[in-house]
């Protein structure tokens, strides 16, 4: 194969395979959609035909030696990594493989508490122990930020035996830490630097973006191609630097990843990578243009605060992702989740999430000016029709947790179920979070406090989608006894 970014090896092999009109006596049993008319009518014939099983000409995701290997090598080149792995279990799969490849049971990993649940889930599964670094918070916005180098340094010095440092790049709201500084610090102390780039695919291709993990010298990065990279939902990449043993990482991935990797997802990664490599710069130039325009117009409306680079402070708000449209809504007297609900119910506009004080709209090259105008106009109307006094509103998203025991011991420990309202003082045995964004309010092993309970009740009352507990209604919570 001629090794260039304009190739898409998996796509080309699949096209060849379909042209060969191979008679399928293997799975999937829908046989190119012939056996499932309703499904084929809905998803389209070409989609069902492309839903094939791994076979020699199409390689095997668990042990890639031909076209998937080539596609992964091209992805590695495009992202400036030593190795790249296609992940079909979502970026949850990438984050978990990354953590499990870096530390074993009982070993410590330094991370900010505002990680995605997938990171703490990995600790429940493999028994590693978190050392949380307090992410700075912005008082006005009430949101958790990135980690300051100073705080990471303190955590490293207090835990010299830790194996790795995990960094969000960026956070859900678009906030970045000083990635280069933290990676350097970790390496100086013999620790691996792992980067959760679930929201940072575009950093690798856009201009004037915050530095991406691989360029900053990180050892691994979990990159959510499906979020802003254009591949199908649930497809993701795990990138590795030179320091990682690629064979070992592959073994770790195979501990939990499916052996029936979907070729819809795999080919979408291949095609999206090609598109990003060839057109990414232009795509994200347009995206930033839209986002900057929307930020400017929304700030003109008054009452809202669509924040941006002006908040950068060289520490916990080191850099900002210009494609994120994060808007603080509390000053018009509405919780973010309320604005989120009004946008959907009254204006047919679906945004990414709303929490206590903020909403986030994802802007991409798939948007058109007219949709951006609709969004801005809807914000203008919501302010005109729904704004009220902000007295009595919750003013923060982040409560510093008290970790009493490791997540795994708490999750698998002896537990009992108590009403949430009566759970203060207990150690939590499960997760509680709003989804999205999926950042735990409580993780297994943390002490439940009155402050946390009132936050949970407030979020429920405002209409946040709560998840995590065994009790589907989130009225009872499992606590460690």
């Amino acid at each position: 194969m001629i090794f260039t970014q304009s190739k898409a090896p998996v796509l080309e092999a699949m096209e060849q395979h379909l042209q060969n009109r191979v008679v399928p006596f293997d799975v999937p049993g829908h046989k190119g959609g012939r056996g499932t008319k309703e499904l084929t009518d809905f998803l389209g014939k070409s989609c069902l035909k492309a839903d094939v099983n791994s076979m020699k000409p199409l390689d095997n995701l668990c042990h890639p030696v031909s076209v998937i290997k080539d596609a992964q090598d091209l992805a590695a080149e495009a992202f400036g990594a030593e190795n790249a792995f296609f992940i079909v279990n979502g970026t949850t799969g990438s984050v978990q493989a990354m953590i499990m490849a870096a530390c074993k049971a009982g070993e410590k990993i330094i991370m900010p508490r505002n990680v995605h649940r997938s990171a703490i889930n990995a600790l429940v599964v493999n028994g590693a122990v978190p050392v949380y670094v307090n992410p700075g918070t912005n008082k006005k916005l009430g949101i958790p930020l990135g980690m300051s180098v100073e705080n990471v340094k303190k955590a490293i010095e207090e835990n010299p035996d830790a194996k790795a440092v995990l960094i969000n790049n960026p956070t859900y709201y678009g906030v970045c830490s000083d990635l280069r500084g933290i990676v350097k610090l970790a390496h100086e102390h013999g620790m691996l630097a792992l980067v959760d780039e679930a929201h940072g695919t575009h950093f690798y291709f856009g201009e004037d973006m915050p530095v991406p993990g691989m360029a900053a010298g990180a050892d691994m990065a979990a990159v959510s191609m499906h979020k802003t990279g254009g591949s199908l939902t649930q497809s993701s990449l795990l990138l590795c630097g030179k320091s990682m043993n690629a064979g070992y990482v592959r073994q770790i991935i195979n501990l939990t990843q499916t052996t029936s990797g979907s070729y819809l997802l795999i080919s979408s990664l291949d095609i999206a990578r090609k598109n990003l490599a060839l057109n990414g710069r232009e795509i994200f130039r347009k995206t930033v243009q839209y986002a900057e325009y929307a930020r400017e117009e929304i700030n003109k409306l008054g009452g809202y605060y669509a924040f941006g680079k002006e908040l950068c402070d060289g520490e916990s708000f080191y850099d900002f992702d210009p494609t994120k449209l994060s808007i603080h809504t509390r000053d018009i007297g509405l919780a973010g989740i309320e604005v989120y609900d009004i946008l959907r119910d009254e204006y047919n506009i679906q945004i990414e999430f709303g929490d206590i004080g903020n909403v986030l709209a994802i802007i991409s090259a798939g948007d058109r000016a007219l949709e951006i105008e609709r969004l801005i106009s809807a914000f203008s109307e919501i302010k005109r029709l729904y704004s009220k006094d902000k007295a009595g509103m919750f003013d923060h998203e982040y409560i510093d947790p008290q970790v009493i025991m490791p997540p795994q011991s708490a999750f698998y420990g002896e537990k009992k179920s108590v009403p949430i309202t009566e759970s203060s003082g207990y150690i939590c045995g499960e997760f509680v979070m709003c989804y999205p964004p999926g950042i735990p309010i409580l993780a297994p092993g943390e002490k439940i406090t009155d402050d946390i309970i009132s936050y949970i009740l407030y979020a429920k009352e405002k209409g946040c989608m709560m998840t995590g507990t065994q009790d589907i209604n989130i009225e009872y919570i499992n606590v460690v006894i």
Binding site: L370, E373, S377, A378, E381, R384, L385
Partner: protein
């Protein structure tokens, strides 16, 4: 040689006009623009293949979208027209000497340029000194206005293309804000005959109803509109277009029209049962 322009009114219904010449075809930033010359309908403007204007029947649409509101409030002085790149709506408005200002907001400058060149019948009055053309998104323009206009006319394409934003609740809400306390909003409202149009009409109606205390429909018939039956929306903060018709005043102006008259004015608000039934589903038509 046979050359036909065809518009699909639904997946199963086609409407065709024999074309003599294809005068112009252009691709703007927003859409494809074509002008045809035909024996039966004269010149025809299409956007993305959808028929917008023909020389033969455009007067029906343009008279009905302007004279209905103009005959209800003699004090209309400041008018905002959104869309309407062909100039027909503006042409009708310029016939009123007491109108002081007409702001026209059209997103696509190329439509106006091409109409000026090929459709002088509709575009000729765009050069009237009272007319100010803004080439920008209607939604964006109206968002910045408060308590300014006596009348807003939304002369847009269908709710699936460039004009999509003009059929939304946020747009109607912004129009409400941009209108004075006795302001009127008139818009093209599709037809109910074919299901796909009926659904978008119902959606648009339920959206427009929420900000305005009075939201009514009136109708007109012309051959090139899908199903031949076109509905307009009349949303108002104060005036009832039936009770508040100033017939004597309007007739005294001596404006010569080919379709509109003050007797038809009252009649066009009488809506057939099938439309009333559909509107009831989206709320009530009083």
């Amino acid at each position: 040689m046979e050359l036909w322009y065809t518009e699909n009114h639904t997946d199963n219904v086609k409407f065709s006009i024999r074309v003599d010449k294809h005068l112009r075809s252009a691709e703007s930033e927003y859409q494809r623009i074509d002008v045809f010359e035909s024996e039966e309908f004269g010149r025809i403007l299409t956007l993305d293949g959808y028929l917008m204007v023909t020389e033969k029947d455009e007067y029906i649409y343009h008279e009905m979208i302007t004279h209905i509101p103009m005959a209800v409030n003699p004090d209309i002085k400041n008018v905002l027209v959104i869309g309407a790149g062909d100039g027909g709506t503006v042409r009708e408005l310029t016939r009123y000497n007491h109108v002081e200002n007409i702001d026209m907001v059209e997103i696509d400058e190329m439509v106006v340029e091409i109409c000026r060149e090929y459709l002088p019948q509709t575009a000729s009055r765009l050069s009237d000194p009272r007319v100010h053309i803004f080439y920008q998104d209607g939604l964006r323009f109206v968002r910045g206005k408060e308590n300014e206009y006596d009348l807003i006319i939304v002369d847009s394409t269908d709710p699936f293309g460039v004009g999509e934003g003009l059929f939304t609740k946020e747009f109607y809400g912004n129009c409400y804000k941009a209108l004075k306390e006795d302001g009127i909003l008139v818009n093209q409202h599709e037809s109910t005959f074919y299901t796909s149009y009926a659904n978008s009409m119902k959606r648009a109606h339920s959206r427009i109803k929420s900000p305005f205390p009075l939201a009514l429909f009136y109708q007109a018939h012309f051959p090139t509109y899908p199903s031949g039956h076109c509905l307009f929306g009349f949303a108002s903060k104060k005036f009832d277009p039936r009770a508040d018709l100033k017939a004597d005043w309007w007739n005294s102006l001596g404006i010569k029209t080919r379709y509109y008259n003050t007797i038809l004015h009252t009649g066009c608000f009488a809506i057939p049962n099938n439309v009333r039934d559909q509107l009831r589903e989206s709320g009530e038509h009083k």
